[in-house]
């Protein structure tokens, strides 16, 4: 019995090592003064973050417009995605949990569907559909509809197509836990419907709204498969990283990755804190 539990503990420890090994090496080699992110250790440097390019041949990521633009693009995608996901997710959750109508189970199944569609297929189908729509509309209206062409607006839509499912599920789960007699009690005590929503329902939902927003933000930031098919001239961070990785490993990518890890760690801790407050 003891040998078994010791073996188990060792396995757990090995597992967590396995889990963090790749991240650790990425972080460590962001500081290696060598043109390749590989051993041996050639000394500590911050060139890959703030260097002017004099030493490494390329400017550090914090001053390189390529990376700065991609980070900016990622935010320009992630923020609308998160806001829309929370807003529409709330409405959808309401439909799932509160509305009564024929065909509701069908709608509920449909809402789950995006989860079982491979991201690449989502990407190509949206690309193909919107380009057909754009062709048709442009012929008809005789004007360019750029937002229907590959580009950040289309990336937002593509990511939204499945992130919305997740936001809906998170918010619906919270809404399901909501004791409806709280609303009735408020109504019974004389509150108007708007007031009930403002003082009782939304405060109760708020942890899930924040949680869904953060999850949407993170998922948007790290999405690759769908985004890849929909990018136009401006690429979000993962696409740029992919391009650069195909160009060959460089510690600059490690540096960006480390920044990403720090950002994600930050958001994740906020998330952990809010979900703790939820309990």
């Amino acid at each position: 019995m003891n040998r078994l539990s010791l073996a188990w503990k060792l396995y757990i420890a090995a597992f967590y090592l396995f889990l963090f090994a790749p991240l650790l090496v990425v972080a460590i080699f962001a500081f290696n003064a060598s043109p390749f992110p590989s051993p041996p250790w050639r000394g500590f440097t911050l060139e890959w973050f703030t260097g002017s390019g004099a030493v490494t041949g390329k400017p550090g990521v914090l001053v390189d417009p390529i990376w700065l633009d991609s980070i900016g693009n990622s935010f320009r995608v992630a923020i609308p995605v998160a806001l829309l996901a929370v807003l529409l997710g709330t409405v959808n959750a309401w439909v799932l949990e509160r509305a009564e109508f024929r065909g509701k189970t069908f709608v509920a199944m449909m809402m789950l569907w995006p989860l079982v569609i491979p991201g690449v297929v989502l990407g190509i189908s949206i690309l193909a559909f919107f380009s057909r729509m754009a062709n048709g509309l442009e012929d008809w209206l005789q004007t360019d509809l750029d937002f229907l062409r590959p580009g950040l607006p289309l990336v937002v839509l593509g990511q939204l197509s499945f992130i919305l499912t997740i936001a809906t599920l998170i918010i619906a789960a919270r809404l399901r836990k909501f004791d409806r007699s709280l609303e009735e009690a408020a109504f019974d005590l004389g509150a108007s419907r708007a007031r009930v929503l403002r003082t009782v329902t939304l405060p109760f939902l708020s942890p899930a709204l924040i949680g869904a927003g953060l999850v949407a933000l993170l998922m948007s930031f790290e999405n690759f498969n769908t985004t890849l098919m929909l990018v136009g001239s401006e690429s979000p961070l993962p696409i740029t990283m992919y391009g650069q990785m195909r160009e060959g490993a460089s510690p600059a990518i490690n540096a960006v990755s480390l920044l990403l890890m720090l950002g994600v760690g930050g958001i994740a801790s906020v998330f952990a804190l809010t979900s703790k407050a939820e309990r």
Binding site: P22, M110, S125, S161, F224
Partner: protein
């Protein structure tokens, strides 16, 4: 009654976002690639209805072999992930308490919110010929020469299993968590050994979690793109790469659309089969996750 039209309007407004979302971003695009997949190029800018793209798939061994290989490896990855994740989930759900438990779960989550590309980069740094593992092996004298671990199926499987772990652990831990401790104790109390209790009580109880985790991991694996491309090197061709290639390097959208439809069908079929074999339903399964 006067309430009726107003109620209908409200319902309509509430449903509008869902209908727009599912209609414009999911259903119509899929109809579009379905239609597209049946169009054949007969001359420049002239297309006709036909089954050519699907025929191409079945007659060209390259395509269906890639397809079969992808499916097979995805199942393998799913099974491996399940086996590796189960003891972890069991520990998190049933042994760890309070703070340790929250910590372990959070630590599991963290790597997965970081981009897939970062994780893959990490594996590349570890595995490549000039990478960390090879370097350590050489430095400690375990090998005489540098060893290449990258650019083979093993590396792809490793990367995919790594990428799937979290999505297996969370549903498994959720399912195991909901198992009342009293039921496990009753299993022992009535004379069951550890193995009996695991086989007859714990695993059957965790079944919805096992299925949910497997479905998610399978879907993520079969739809993955970056990991096989970056770790697989010269030999591995993943089916998503074929789709990508048709769209991006061949400009042959109809063929790519056909491949997309086939991937969708394949994954749906395997998921459906998995659900049938285990007697679970999709809705409850996904809620578990």
């Amino acid at each position: 009654m006067t309430a009726k039209p107003a109620q209908r309007l409200t319902l309509f407004l509430l449903l509008a976002p869902a209908v727009l979302w599912l209609g414009l971003l999911i259903v119509l695009p899929h109809v579009e690639i379905l239609v597209l997949s049946f169009s054949e190029r007969v001359a420049p800018r002239v297309y006709a209805f036909g089954l050519g793209n699907y025929l191409e798939f079945f007659t060209e061994p390259l395509y269906w072999r890639t397809f079969a290989r992808t499916a097979f490896m995805s199942i393998l990855v799913t099974a491996l992930t399940l086996v590796l994740a189960f003891p972890i989930a069991l520990y998190i759900a049933r042994v760890a308490q309070g703070r340790l438990k929250a910590m372990l779960l959070l630590l599991c989550l963290l790597p997965f919110w970081v981009s897939e590309l970062v994780r893959t980069l990490g594996w590349m740094i570890l595995l490549r010929e000039t990478g960390v593992i090879s370097y350590v092996l050489l430095a400690t004298g375990l090998t005489e020469q540098r060893v290449e671990f990258l650019y083979n199926d093993g590396a792809v499987i490793l990367g995919l299993v790594y990428g799937g772990l979290l999505f297996m652990i969370v549903p498994l831990a959720n399912a195991l968590e909901s198992l009342e401790p009293a039921i496990v104790e009753a299993g022992y109390d009535l004379g069951g050994s550890r193995w009996t209790v695991l086989r007859r009580i714990v695993i059957p109880h965790a079944m919805p979690g096992i299925v949910a985790g497997s479905i998610i991991v399978f879907m993520l694996t079969i739809g993955n793109f970056a990991t096989p491309v970056l770790l697989g090197g010269k030999n591995g061709l993943w089916f998503t790469e074929q789709i990508y290639a048709q769209f991006i390097t061949r400009f042959n959208w109809p063929q790519g659309a056909a491949f997309g439809m086939l991937l969708l069908l394949l994954s749906s079929a395997i998921v459906w089969l998995g659900l049938r074999l285990t007697g679970q339903s999709l809705g409850t399964t996904l809620k578990q996750a």
